[in-house]
Symmetry: none
Subunit: 217 residues, 4 copies
DNA sequence: AATGAATGAGAGTTCATTCAT
DNA sequence: GATGAATGAACTCTCATTCAT
């Protein structure tokens, strides 16, 4: 019995060993991604050297290259990955919203809320446009896909009478860029504006476009 | 006599020399700025090395430091300087517009027109947000000051009833960011959208916010 | 009973296991050596990383260090080991040759034949001179020992009248180097010469030195 | 006068300045090449890191890249450059030799003489075959061109009756490789042989092939 | 005996900046 | 003022080797 158990145990321990290794490796990868978000948030993509990232992640420099092909490849993955966490936060918040305008309202509040809790995210997002364009495109796709289909559903429910189906994409991009930009204004530099007043103005603007009858053209 | 003449001549030549020098120096400086716009437009701020910029400007590397304290300082001045040329183009176009909406319409068309004529400008503009933040702020100030006071004038003429005075700044930022962003979409990457359709949607959106009665809150 | 059987079985299996293990271990070692020849042949000693060698051998990276103390130690053993296979091929071919000249002729043909069948060998051989000097010396010793004693036997049979006993070593080295070098010329780069014409010239050269009366000094 | 002289002096000094700079730059380049020969001679191509080479040349690391595009490009130029100095030494020595055999004799002695005076050259030469193949080819071309035309001239003078015109290239390669190889034997590792005895055997070998009537085929 | 994630020294290369001319 | 050779800190990336499993 002990022998068999021993063997079984061995068998298991081997198996467990592999799982452990894989798990540990996954943890290391996550540590690097988290450190990268931190460092990019503080120093920007340019200042985010591999040595600084690994130093903060608490791993050796060479370890980086077991998890990412290159610095560039990390940056290609960083925003989509941490962006997904932000999206999840917003998704939860807007669940159950009754109208397109409510989605805008709750969504923008949730976005601002996420930013105040994750101060590093905004720089990861905004610098990506120039410095990690592949990541930015991927993230944008993630966001715009949901955004556009949300607008479409609203239109099918009878809202957004002014906007044609084929205009929803441009509208989505305008609103996403406005949100991102207002966020930059709020959470960086001067900060002369308050989140709530910005939200109010944004909503007023959006309401005008979303409500009312057919807007022509 | 010859001496005196010589001296006078020298004096004159010195004087002329100074004017020439100043002129020549100014020309050199301009050559560097122009080359910088070109190089940043092609290779981005990151790829714009001093040696590449001076090579294109046709001056020696060391000459750069006669005109700019450092690479960063050049980048601090680049966008405000070339941005002024873009603004002038737009300014001329919107001169004589009768309403806020017409300003928007003519202004956006002029902006797009400028971009298609100066393909390097867009990258200088959009990358500046991350890579030359001081320049970006300065440019933004230049643009927003004119934008906001234009909106104010419209409001004084009885337009923009929905918007309160203190909301004009936020509105201006939203619209500037939307313009810049739509430009990125149009003049880079996929280009699935046509300028005119984007302009139409943009205007419809803006019209909704600009026209109509008081929008509450 | 089941227990005892179990134990016996275990004992047997252990015994068998040991033989198997030894065999398997030897197979693994051979797999690594073969992979190393392949990789060095393709990428050179410099490009032959442990990870590439083990990848091609189908074993884990760490397994390498069960069989070789270090990368360098592998390279110390590689050429002598694969060189022995080449030598065997030549040995078989020259068996029964009637004169020193016939040995030269058949041997050179067999050498060229081996190279065309084992395209990886030549690089393992020629780069070893710089990059695996210990291996090169060992291989050279293997080759020259046989070569010199073959020349000696010929001399004892009355051939090679021009050459003194103490000159045979230098002659052997000259001929070996010429062979290796001609092989490089033939099987690499330009290949403007044909094997048979090179062999003819080589033999003419050797014949002159091997035949005829005492050459003086 | 002083003024004019001053101006002239200025003019001259400017001109001289440029020449000085160019000269100084050329000296720096030469210092790097010399250091590279030294380091490759001691540590081999593999051990010849840029940092070690520049350290010995007494210049900053970055200076290297003002004179060579890359480490590889330096290695492409190193052997042809230092090889030319060796060739010059040999050229002077064989000047006035009366026969092909005398050329061989004087040339080999001069080669060995050069090697004993420039102990670093041999490794630069022999490792180049594997580690700087472009340089090796270039050097070989330099050497073989002279060698082959020297053999041709001898043949035209009635020597080398055994060898056909089209065999001279193969013969040249055989002899060059034999010389290089014998040099390796003499100036590296064991050194059991003396230069003079090696030269004697080499010459005996060559004499057999060079002299005598038509050797058939 | 086999595994493969982790390590970290060290490589080649870039480039903003300096300064003697 | 203009020049451009020289500088060296800082970067990304490689890979032989170790060792816990």
């Amino acid at each position: 019995m002990p022998k068999k158990t021993g063997l079984v145990a061995l068998h298991i321990s081997r198996h467990v060993g592999r799982i452990d290794r894989k798990k540990k490796s996954e943890l290391t990868r996550r540590a690097i991604v988290d450190a990268a978000e931190l460092v990019v948030g503080e120093l920007g993509y340019q200042g985010a050297s591999i040595s600084e990232i690994t130093r903060r992640a608490g791993v050796a420099l060479g370890t980086f290259y077991r998890h990412f092909e290159s610095r560039e490849k990390l940056f290609d993955q960083l925003l989509p990955e941490v962006g997904e966490r932000m999206l999840e936060h917003v998704r939860v918040a807007i669940h159950g919203a009754q109208s397109a305008l409510e989605v805008e309202h709750t969504g923008l509040e949730a976005f601002f809320d996420y930013l105040s809790r994750h101060p590093y995210f905004l720089r990861v997002l905004s610098e990506a446009q120039s410095l990690a364009p592949i990541a930015y495109e991927a993230h944008l796709k993630n966001v715009s896909r949901r955004y556009i289909s949300s607008l479409r559903r609203s239109k099918k429910r009878g809202e957004l009478k002014r906007l044609r189906e084929d205009e929803l994409e441009t509208v989505a991009y305008m609103l996403m860029s406005a949100r991102e930009y207002l966020a930059s204004r709020l959470y960086r530099s001067g900060k002369r504006l308050s989140p709530s007043s910005v939200i109010q103005t944004y909503l007023k603007f959006v309401r005008a476009a979303f409500e009312g009858g057919n807007g022509g053209t």
